[in-house]
Amino acid sequence: MEALTSLQIIGYVFLQFIPVWVGMLVIFALSIMTKNRTGLYGRLFDSPIGMVGFALVLFWVLTAIFADAIMTHAPLETASGMKNKLPGTPLRGAAEGDFQWYLFGGDNLARDVFSRMVAGSRIVLVIAPAATLFAFMVGITLGLPAGYFGGRADTILSFLANLVLAFPVILLFYLLVTPEIRAAGAEIRIWGGNIWVTSIPNILAAILFLFPILFLLILFQSRFFTRPMLRNILIAGTLLVGAWMYSGLAFNADPLGLLGMDPNLLNIFVSVVFVNSPTVFRIVRGLALDIQTRDYVAAAQTRGEGPWYIMLWEILPNARGPLIVDFCLRIGYTTILLGTLGFFGLGLSPESPDWGSTINEGRKLLTLYPHPALIPALALMSMVLGLNLLADGLREQSLKD
């Protein structure tokens, strides 16, 4: 069989991504039709930059969702004679039902670069937003009281935040994401016959993963304490789901056996949350300091509302604009951080298809065979660019208020 020409490669790639194109068309059509009724999200479609950013982000989100349909080969599958082959090379000895080409070529272990890029999007798009969300939970739960109450707690928390911020990120990663650190600690027998090691990442996970539960509990209690029925249902639900997820994610000991986190992954996740939280803390603290002088806060105080109600139901909703913008930017930054970890071969296993690790694998033969490193590099860049443009569009539109 002949090798594909550049035009044919583009054509086949386009065909592989059909589920994504359809999804994007549907979402864009629906969003533009209803844009007068969807507030800030709808106004995004008035700004060309915001639209381009949204399209790029949507492309990768849909790619991650439809990854199984888009991939032409399994991401770990090797094929004989396909080592470092150029894009468009026909697959040697392909069976009847197989896809006949390596669209973006083969890497130095004869795996399909195209499929690995698509599989990598799934890893990145799960970890980066989730880690950012956790960092926001930590930052908001600590930043609001620090800004609102001030005083000694604020001084201590700010000092701790500055401490983490003064730590060179790369050094922190090299100290926190090593195989040795996971073994450093006492083994404790916990429920279900599982063993938990008191290593630094595990302890950090146990602390950091508490914050989302804490946040939701305070959120419901402060608002609905006057309606005990509803409050009890909400809090019981939060506690039940929270405890289940917490035991699965932080202790890898889910009694139902559904949730669990690979120790490597937990290590990376915790480090990324840890690095991001202090910055979010500082932003939220600043916003709380600014907003608490407003009249509606004074009105709530006069009404006799509790401090947590004011923080979570008066200040936080009014700080949403800058927070949403920062959330988009921070997902991009987290993606870059994850790539950095992969680039240094820290954390995830070397055969993992995430973009950072693939760039690291591919860079060794970069001048001879550029495609194995170039493809994930461009993928990472386009996604972060999309997030940054989206954030810029959102900022522009939210300032118009």
Partner: protein, 360 residues
């Protein structure tokens, strides 16, 4: 002002102490020490032998005591291993009498590197000077480029120039060093792809490639060919951020009353920008540029690894990857100090530059 500087310096020292202790604690975790014992002693040591190796050399003392000894505020004890007597200061060919009681960082003794077989302080000094050159060229490229972009964009907010330059700035912040490095190498330093083969065919360049994909030769001799790509990769990621800050600052100044007055008086736009707006617009970017230096540190590590330039960042990777505890500690001290000192300078500089801020 004096009290402000004094207080800031105090907080800085406290932070430095906390951070170095954290690094010390994490590098001296037991699994790391076991690994050290096995690489320094014998790979096939039993657990008991490892333990006695560590006990003999004082590694099993309380971590605070060890930190005090490393810092040089506590006397370094002597250890006997067979015939030999050790302290932290012991080096081959130096008698024990010549060394003092205190052997810590404060006495200038950063320890001995197990990987490079040399004094940590000497290794770091050498590597740091190499990275200094890299940083110098990066700043020379990055700062003027960022300021020009920011000023041109912020001069007329919302214009077409502003929009295209702002988009460029956003694009650079989406391109981390390991991405731009890869793209640059493929475009300019490969004899098979990118621009080099085309230019070579046309006879515009004599060599096979425009630039070199490795900067290892730059340690002895910096040339355009071996240093351009690492400098560009580092500079590009930082440009966007500084440019956006400059743009915001410039745009704010351009709406100020005194600019309006100057305009109404009939001062030319060129003079307004150069003589009136620029000075005030450059206060904010100064802080950002200073704070950018610690941020460049991560970039330096990436770029030096990617281009194999054996500077400070490369040393960090080697120390961390080979469990060279003393060297990693030394590198961390320098890294932490760089971050804290630039923060201090940016705080003080901001107050100096901006007459509107009065420190109580």
């Amino acid at each position: 002002m004096g009290r402000f500087i004094l207080r800031r310096t105090g907080v800085m020292l406290l932070t430095a102490l906390c951070l170095t202790f954290i690094v010390f604690f994490m590098t001296n975790l037991h699994p790391n020490l076991e690994k050290l014992a096995k690489t320094e002693g014998n790979m096939r040591m039993t657990d008991e032998q490892v333990e006695s190796w560590l006990v003999n050399r004082g590694y099993t003392q309380n971590v605070f005591v060890k930190y005090g000894q490393w810092l040089g505020v506590m006397p370094s004890p002597r250890f006997e291993v067979g015939e030999e007597v050790y302290t932290r200061c012991s080096r081959p060919g130096v008698s024990l009498e010549e060394t003092g009681r205190f052997c810590g960082v404060l006495q200038g003794n950063f320890g001995f590197s197990t990987v490079f077989k040399g004094e940590v302080s000497e290794i770091i000094a050498k590597r740091l000077s190499l990275t200094g050159w890299l940083m110098l060229f990066v700043l020379i490229v990055m700062v003027p480029m960022a300021l020009v972009i920011g000023i041109l964009a912020g001069m007329r907010e919302g214009s077409r120039t502003d929009r295209s330059l702002s988009t460029f700035a956003i694009a650079t912040t989406a391109t981390p060093e390991y991405v731009s490095g890869v793209i640059f190498v493929v475009l300019f330093a490969s004899s098979r792809t990118g621009l080099s083969p085309i230019l070579h065919e046309w006879g515009w360049i004599e060599k096979k490639t425009m630039f070199k994909g490795l900067a290892s030769t730059a340690a002895n001799d910096i040339t355009l060919a071996n240093f351009t790509l690492p400098v560009m990769a580092l500079a590009l990621y930082g440009v966007g951020y500084i440019a956006r800050m400059t743009r915001a600052s410039m745009a704010e100044v351009m709406t100020a009353q005194y600019i309006r007055t100057a305009r109404l008086k009939g001062v030319s736009f060129r003079n307004i920008v150069l003589k009136h707006a620029l000075r005030n617009a450059l206060i904010a970017p100064f802080t950002v540029i200073m704070l950018q230096i610690p941020w460049l540190l991560t970039g330096v590590v990436i770029v030096e690894t990617l281009f194999n330039y054996k500077g400070f960042g490369w040393t960090l990777v080697q120390a961390a990857g080979n469990n060279d505890i003393e060297l990693l500690l030394g590198v961390s001290v320098v890294a932490v100090l760089v971050v804290l000192v630039t923060q201090l300078i940016s705080d003080i500089g901001y107050v100096f530059l901006n007459p509107r801020i009065r420190v109580s």
